[in-house]
Amino acid sequence: MAEVPVSWFLTLSAVLFVLGVSGFLFRRNIITVFMSIELMLNAVNLTFITFAYQLKQVNGHLFAFFVMVVAAAEATVGLAIILTVFKNRSTLNIDDVNSMKN
């Protein structure tokens, strides 16, 4: 069984990352922005795993686990904030949540 070339994984990861970045930059819905961030994290995870696999080292796996833990924690806190914001403001548009400015 022929191996899938590493570059394919990396290309997929890059595509996912760019998708995440564009979502982060251009979407206004806070949930979508949040999902974009998760997408970027997972793209990075994929890169880690790829290199770990190629270099036959365990570090990459370790980093992937760390990222997953951070992502989970972030999701928890982030969603809690989003819920509170929605409760108080009835909006999910991030440009409207700017009362800390100035």
């Binding site: 970045v21 982060f24 440009d95 700017n98």
Partner: protein
């Protein structure tokens, strides 16, 4: 011998009256005040009698005051023959004036910070500092007394502190004295640098070994200090204004004791001066110039206290002439007799003012001879003494100075006798205007109580007979600078000038009262000039005070400080805010714009790496 008791007693009086005086009755306040000074007098007398002939100084060391490097200044007191004279004058006259003040200040109620006890507290404090000055065994302790009496003078001149002219006069006295002290302190520093000590004994022992230039500089700087304290040209301006204080103050501080401190200090420093002939010459010149200059102003004053104030300045000039001509003992002799008769003149004029309920203008007096006879007769004694009437105290001391001046430079003698003539004229002018002719005022005159005129009687006796206390003989061991020879011709000349002055005054103010006015009219320009004291105050104001204050406000404060320095500081602030304002626009607070910047940055970096370095490999 517990010398410290002498100054400490009045200090105790000051504390008792100052802290508790408000709750004391007037008699208790005056008992404490007078008692402390009389006790000091008694103790001083006891000390002097116990110390015997005092051929060398008797010194006591109490504690080290300042010690650092080679500076080692003790709180030391000493008694020698010069100190004995000063001690007796200060405590003796001080006691008499304290007693007099009980009567003079009796009507003083003051606002709730009552006048009576405050007055006596200040007066006691003055005695403390004056005695410290006299007893000090080193220059710095002398300086303590020196500044301290200046402070008391300030407090007492501004005694009626709700009156602006009084507090102005107080400030003027303090500040002009500070200018003098500036010179004195510079002298002290120079002495310390050269002799590594400030003790009189050490310094004077080493003085002959120092270079003449150094000694001359020290001598001239000391003279600046003396000019401030003893109201000599050009720093005399504060003394006439100082008459704003109550009259006993004028008598004690501004006639008998404090203002003579400069003469005392110069005489005390004689070992420095004898090796600095140019400094001596400066003393004599300033003295004679002041004596003449102040006497001319005295001719035209109408305020009775102002007349005597200018007379004091003039007489202090005589003392300086004596010191400057090398006749130190004659200077101190005149210091003592002047203390008698000038204190008496001031106390007498105080009695007149008291009798007229505050009137000081000679033009509103007249004919008081019969109404207040005690005052008249005692004051007459003083007037004769100051005019150099034969065998009164002033006759001996003034002639001793004039003869010494003749030996030093004959022109000084002639200027001196002319001044003596003017002195006799203006003093008797004041006497005749006040006591002869008809009464021109409105108040009903009344004689002062015995507590006031008894001190006058004592002083009158001293004014007449004080010349027989032979100070030059007593001091000739202390000042081994040669005796003043007697010269009957010169004596006769000066007596003649004095009598001539009296006669002229009698002619102009008693026989033909219209003559004075017509004479003033005939030399109107000169009269205006003299009447306005040569406009010296106005000149100082325009030349020194206004430029300094105005320059400080307009140039230093508003322009340099607020404008330039602070302008630069605020300019830096504004500049960095401006820069920040531009940069701030990047920090929009919008996460997505930040992310865009990050993306842009990444793309730029990657692009640059690819483009310039040709890829990562």
């Amino acid at each position: 011998m517990q010398l410290w008791l002498i100054p400490i007693l009045p200090l105790a009086g000051f504390f008792i009256n100052g802290v508790f005086g408000r709750r004391f009755s007037k008699s208790l306040v005056s008992t404490v005040a007078v008692g402390s000074v009389v006790l000091a007098f008694a103790w001083a007398l006891r000390v002097i009698l116990a110390l015997g002939d005092l051929n060398s100084a008797y010194t006591e060391h109490y504690f080290t005051w300042i010690q650092s490097g080679f500076v080692n200044i003790g709180c030391d007191m000493a008694v020698d023959r010069l100190t004995v004279v000063m001690l007796m004058v200060v405590t003796g006259i001080g006691s008499l004036i304290h007693i007099y003040a009980i009567g003079y200040m009796a009507h003083e109620h003051g606002p709730n910070f009552g006048g009576f006890y405050r007055f006596f507290a200040y007066l006691n404090l003055f005695m403390f500092f004056m005695l410290t000055l006299v007893l000090a065994a080193n220059f710095l302790l002398l300086f303590v007394g020196w500044e301290g009496v200046g402070l008391c003078s300030y407090l007492l001149i501004g005694f009626y502190f709700d009156k602006k002219f009084a507090t102005n006069a107080g400030n003027k006295a303090f500040i002009v004295n500070r200018i003098g002290d500036f010179g004195f302190s510079l002298a002290i520093f120079l002495i310390m640098v050269n002799f590594k000590s400030l003790d009189f004994a050490t310094v004077f022992q080493q003085a002959p070994g120092a270079s003449e230039a150094t000694l001359t500089t020290i001598g001239l700087l000391l003279l600046v200090g003396a000019c401030g304290k003893s109201a000599q040209l050009p720093l005399y301006v504060w003394l006439p204004d100082a008459m704003a204080g109550p009259t006993p103050v004028s008598a004690l501080i501004h006639a008998a004791t404090m203002v003579t401190a400069g003469v005392y200090m110069c005489a005390r420093s004689w070992p420095i001066y004898v090796h600095a002939p140019e400094a001596m010459h400066a003393i004599a010149l300033i003295g004679i110039a002041t004596a003449f200059f102040a006497a001319t102003i005295g001719l035209a004053q109408n305020d009775i206290k102002k007349v005597f104030a200018y007379s004091t300045v003039s007489q202090l000039g005589y003392m300086f002439v004596g010191v400057g001509c090398g006749a130190f003992s004659a200077g101190i002799y005149h210091l003592m007799t002047h203390a008698f008769f000038k204190a008496l003149l001031f106390l007498g004029s105080g009695s007149v003012i008291h009798a007229l309920s505050g009137e000081q203008d000679l033009r509103n007096m007249g004919g008081l001879r019969t109404k207040i006879p005690w005052t008249f007769w005692t004051m007459l004694c003083a007037a004769l003494a100051i005019s150099g009437f034969p065998f009164t105290s002033g006759f001996f001391s003034k002639d001793a100075i004039l003869i010494a001046a003749h030996g030093y430079a004959p022109w000084m003698f002639w200027l001196g006798v002319v001044t003596a003539g003017m002195t006799a004229f203006y003093v008797f002018r004041a006497m005749f205007l006040a006591f002869f002719g008809t009464y021109r005022g409105r108040e009903h005159p009344h004689e002062s109580p015995p507590v006031m005129y008894l001190p006058l009687v004592v002083l009158a006796a001293l004014s007449l007979g004080g010349g027989f206390i032979k100070i030059p003989v007593f001091l000739d061991k202390f000042f081994p600078t040669g005796e003043v020879p007697e010269d009957s011709t010169l004596m006769a000349i000066s007596v003649a000038f004095g009598l001539g002055g009296i006669a002229l005054a009698y002619l102009m103010y008693v026989l033909k009262p219209s003559m004075a006015d017509s004479f003033a009219d005939s030399v109107k320009g000169l009269y205006t000039l003299v009447y306005n004291k040569y406009f010296v105050d106005e000149i100082y104001d325009a030349a020194v005070v206004r430029p300094v204050v105005g320059g400080s406000r307009a140039v230093l404060w508003k322009t340099v400080d607020a404008g330039f320095i602070d302008g630069m500081v605020n300019g830096v602030g504004t500049l960095s805010r401006g820069v920040g304002d531009v940069l701030r626009r990047m920090q929009s607070g919008n996460i997505r714009s930040y992310a865009s910047w990050v993306l842009l940055g990444c793309v730029t970096v990657i692009g640059a790496v690819l483009f310039f370095l040709g890829g990562v490999r």
